[in-house]
């Protein structure tokens, strides 16, 4: 079950020093009349891990293909190391790509699968052998080098595909939801390993995913995508804790962020159904007017978390249970809220349930959906 210790501490001796920066300048891609990505500007530094986080059809794959040079943008430029490569095809760029469906040659052994990009590049036999074994060690595939892909588990097949991408030592390593088809236990393991791996190979890694938990476990920097636009780009935890707008907060919450409309009158937040939240934490000092409050599922409580928290009665829609936690879906005044509670809570659909809103845990969004105030984590503690 756990062989991950074997991967630790092995350096990639003789790795090429990567110093190239990848820059997208105002890149737009239209197909016919359909806008796939619009006006995207991003600068990715060498040796960084970058997550593209967004739901299906938000533009992640389009963006990866533009970065790779598989497609050309309709407008804008792609620069590598300051040089414009917008029209340069993928085979003349230093790029490796890993897809959701792990692609290996079924008739080649793991060894030959990993070696294949080097053979194509006419690298000397001894050098190929050295690099294949080094990469296999890093990906914990050494014992499997003589096997064929169909004799491997899904996780081993995907590690083979990853090894083939890494062995090329490309400047740019693009991964399109590479863990989406794996058991969650394997994902857990690979999500822990990948950041170390990316750090060792030193390339610019770009990792596209629809899952907020992927981004949080990988760390690095995250760009949130919504309807073909990058809404925010920054250190992953900073984007998670201070989303600049409602769209970013939505993309970066799973289960979806809970929202409620509120009116600030005399400093206090008035919610539908006569509920009033005190002006504490992010709610302090707000001007009178209409706002919306957003709060994540783990901040909607079944037990009173602090004496400033306010109880409201909602109706249970359904309860979902993970290994150790319960997601209680509720409906109140037309809003659907999800509460994430520790432990197993079996509640009957249709039953009333007391849930607690904590003013310290609220994101405040203005009428233009921009962030006005966010929870202060030190203060909430």
């Amino acid at each position: 079950m756990d062989a991950r210790a074997a991967a630790g501490g092995q350096g990639l001796g003789g790795v090429t020093e990567h110093t190239m920066t990848l820059e997208l300048r105002n890149v737009t891609k239209r197909v016919g009349s359909e806008m796939h990505v619009a006006g995207i500007s991003l600068t990715l530094a060498p040796g960084t891990l970058n997550v593209l986080l967004g739901p299906t059809l938000s533009g992640k794959t389009t963006l990866l293909r533009l970065m790779a040079g598989l497609d050309a943008p309709t407008e804008g430029q792609v620069l590598v190391g300051g040089r414009d490569v917008t029209g340069t095809p993928v085979r003349r760029r230093s790029v490796a790509m890993v897809y959701q469906q792990f692609i290996n040659y079924p008739n080649l052994t793991v060894y030959e699968n990993i070696a294949s990009p080097l053979r194509v590049a006419h690298i000397a036999r001894a050098e190929i052998d050295r690099r294949v074994r080094e990469t296999a060690g890093l990906m914990r595939l050494t014992a499997l080098l003589d096997r064929y892909p169909l004799e491997l588990s899904g996780g081993q097949q995907q590690r083979t595909a990853l090894a083939r991408a890494i062995v090329k030592r490309a400047e740019l390593l693009l991964l399109d939801e590479p863990l989406a088809n794996l058991d969650y236990k394997l994902r857990e393991e690979l999500r822990e390993e990948l950041p170390k791996l990316f750090a060792e190979i030193g390339a610019i890694a770009v990792y596209a995913t629809a899952e907020p938990s992927d981004a949080l476990l990988l760390g690095g920097r995250t760009a949130t995508l919504s309807s073909g636009r990058v809404t925010q780009f920054g250190p992953t935890l900073e984007v998670y804790r201070r989303p600049v707008d409602r769209a970013t907060a939505e993309v970066f919450s799973d289960p979806p962020m809970n929202f409620v409309a509120a009116r600030i009158v005399g400093g206090k937040a008035h919610l539908p159904g006569g509920v009033v939240l005190p002006a504490r934490g992010p709610l302090a000092g707000l001007a009178d007017g209409d706002i919306s409050l957003g709060f994540r599922a783990n901040h909607l409580y079944l037990r009173q978390p602090s004496h400033d928290a306010v109880a409201v009665t909602a109706t249970v829609a359904v309860v979902e249970i993970t290994g150790s936690e319960s997601y209680v879906h509720t409906i109140r005044e037309g809003d659907r809220w999800v509460a994430l509670a520790h432990g197993i809570h079996e509640l009957n659909p249709g039953a009333p349930v007391e849930v607690y809103l904590d003013p310290y845990r609220m994101f405040v969004f203005g009428r233009d959906d921009r962030l006005v105030a966010a929870p202060n984590f030190a203060e909430a503690a």
Binding site: M1, A5, P55, T56, L57, S153, G154, N181, D183, Y184, K185, L186, E188, E192, A210, E211, P212, S213, L216, L217, G219, L237, Y240, R241, D254, P255, P256, R296, N298, A317, V318, V319, E320, I321, T322, G323, S324, Y327, H329, V338, L340, H342, I344, P349, F377, A378, A380, A381
Partner: protein
């Protein structure tokens, strides 16, 4: 509503099977109560899909029998067993409208007119497909197509059982929440026996009343979500349920004490002295370990802290042993060393992988 019994059921894909290790499904006897909601949960290769295919009639077992309400159906086809199935990837007729796709299984059974229309509209409403009913299935997103597949599986109310094989794999995470809830609500309404195969613990534990955890061709535990979490019968269940799974630590057990990572701790119950030839381990979940404020407890080194937003995961070392400890999102942790305390009553003892209850 059909009760399903598996009697000494076993399957090997090799007709000349010699050894037990060749069985994709080792000898298994189980009962699925009529109208129950079950999940078969386990990693790829554990035998769960083999078991499902035996129940649906896609495979004929090497040994044993399958009974539906006491009647032996082992040699009957899927159609004769009257089973509805939903697969991992969408099965839809592209050239038909969404409406006709949903109506197909009903018309195929000779239903016409209002009986079809009522049921199709009911299922469409439940799956949010109503606005697309008149459209051709071709050109719809993978999500929508899989919803049609689900709808086709659910549309017939007279089936003996509904079998789902990882039906939400291609669905976007944001939509998964919605569909999981809808499936659960649906089961409450129709009370058909439902069996749901998945490698995803959340899908399994959310959907099912009873979860059947499989590992290496065998059932290792059948239980409610709470039982699986709080009382894993096997170290594999402890590892597989929960994210991250239970910490499993090699330990020497003697009566009411255990030596773990060079430190002696006391146990809440008496465990005798397991044979030296056995593998003895302690299991404790990351949720049930506290980092003590005053440094008391077992001394550990903090190797790394992963901040995953709503909680932090401390990766610590107790002597040569690695452990995961879950702490709150606002917790401040000491820089390099700390004391940890195991929550009493949450510590389990395993001998050769199996839970030992001990005595008071």
């Amino acid at each position: 509503m059909t009760r399903i019994d598996l009697v000494d059921l076993a399957h090997s894909y090799n007709p000349q099977t010699q050894s037990a290790g060749e069985y994709a499904l080792k000898k298994t006897s189980l009962t699925f109560a009529a109208g129950g909601a079950y999940a078969l949960l386990g990693p790829s290769g554990c035998g769960k899909t083999t078991l499902l295919n035996l129940m649906s009639g896609l495979l004929t077992p090497t040994e044993g029998a399958i009974l539906f309400d006491g009647v032996d159906v082992t040699l009957r086809t899927t159609e004769q067993r009257n089973i509805a199935q939903v697969f991992q990837f969408p099965v839809v007729y592209d050239t038909m409208s969404v409406y006709d796709n949903l109506a197909f299984p009903l018309r195929n059974r000779g239903l016409r007119g209002a009986a079809v229309d009522l049921r199709v509209r009911e299922i469409a409403a439940m799956l949010d497909l109503t606005p697309t009913l008149a459209r051709k299935a071709k050109g719809l997103t993978a999500d929508s197509k899989q919803k049609i597949s689900l709808g086709r599986g659910l549309v017939r109310a007279d089936v003996s059982a509904m079998l789902f094989d990882e039906p939400l794999t291609v669905i976007d995470p944001h939509l998964k929440w919605q569909l999981r809830s809808q499936l659960k609500q649906l089961h409450a309404q129709v009370a058909t026996t439902m069996i749901y195969v998945t490698h995803d613990q959340t899908e399994a534990l959310t959907f099912a009343e009873k979860v059947i955890v499989m590992y290496d061709g065998a059932v290792v535990q059948i239980g409610t979500p709470e039982e699986l979490f709080e009382h894993p019968n096997h170290t594999f269940v402890g590892y597989f349920i929960g994210s991250p799974g239970m910490n499993v630590l090699p330990a020497t057990i003697n009566g009411k004490t255990a030596v773990v990572g060079g430190h002696t701790i006391s146990l809440p119950r008496f465990y005798g002295k397991p044979l030296a030839s056995t593998r003895t381990e302690l299991g404790i979940r990351p949720e049930f370990i506290r980092i003590s404020e005053n440094g008391k407890g077992l001394p550990v080194r903090i190797k790394r802290v992963d901040d995953v937003g709503r909680y932090k995961l401390a990766r610590v070392a107790l002597g040569p042993l690695a452990l995961n400890v879950m702490v709150g999102e606002d917790a401040r942790l000491p820089a390099d060393s700390a004391g940890i305390v195991f929550e009493p009553g949450r510590l389990h003892v395993y001998v050769d992988g199996h839970l030992v209850e001990g005595s008071a």
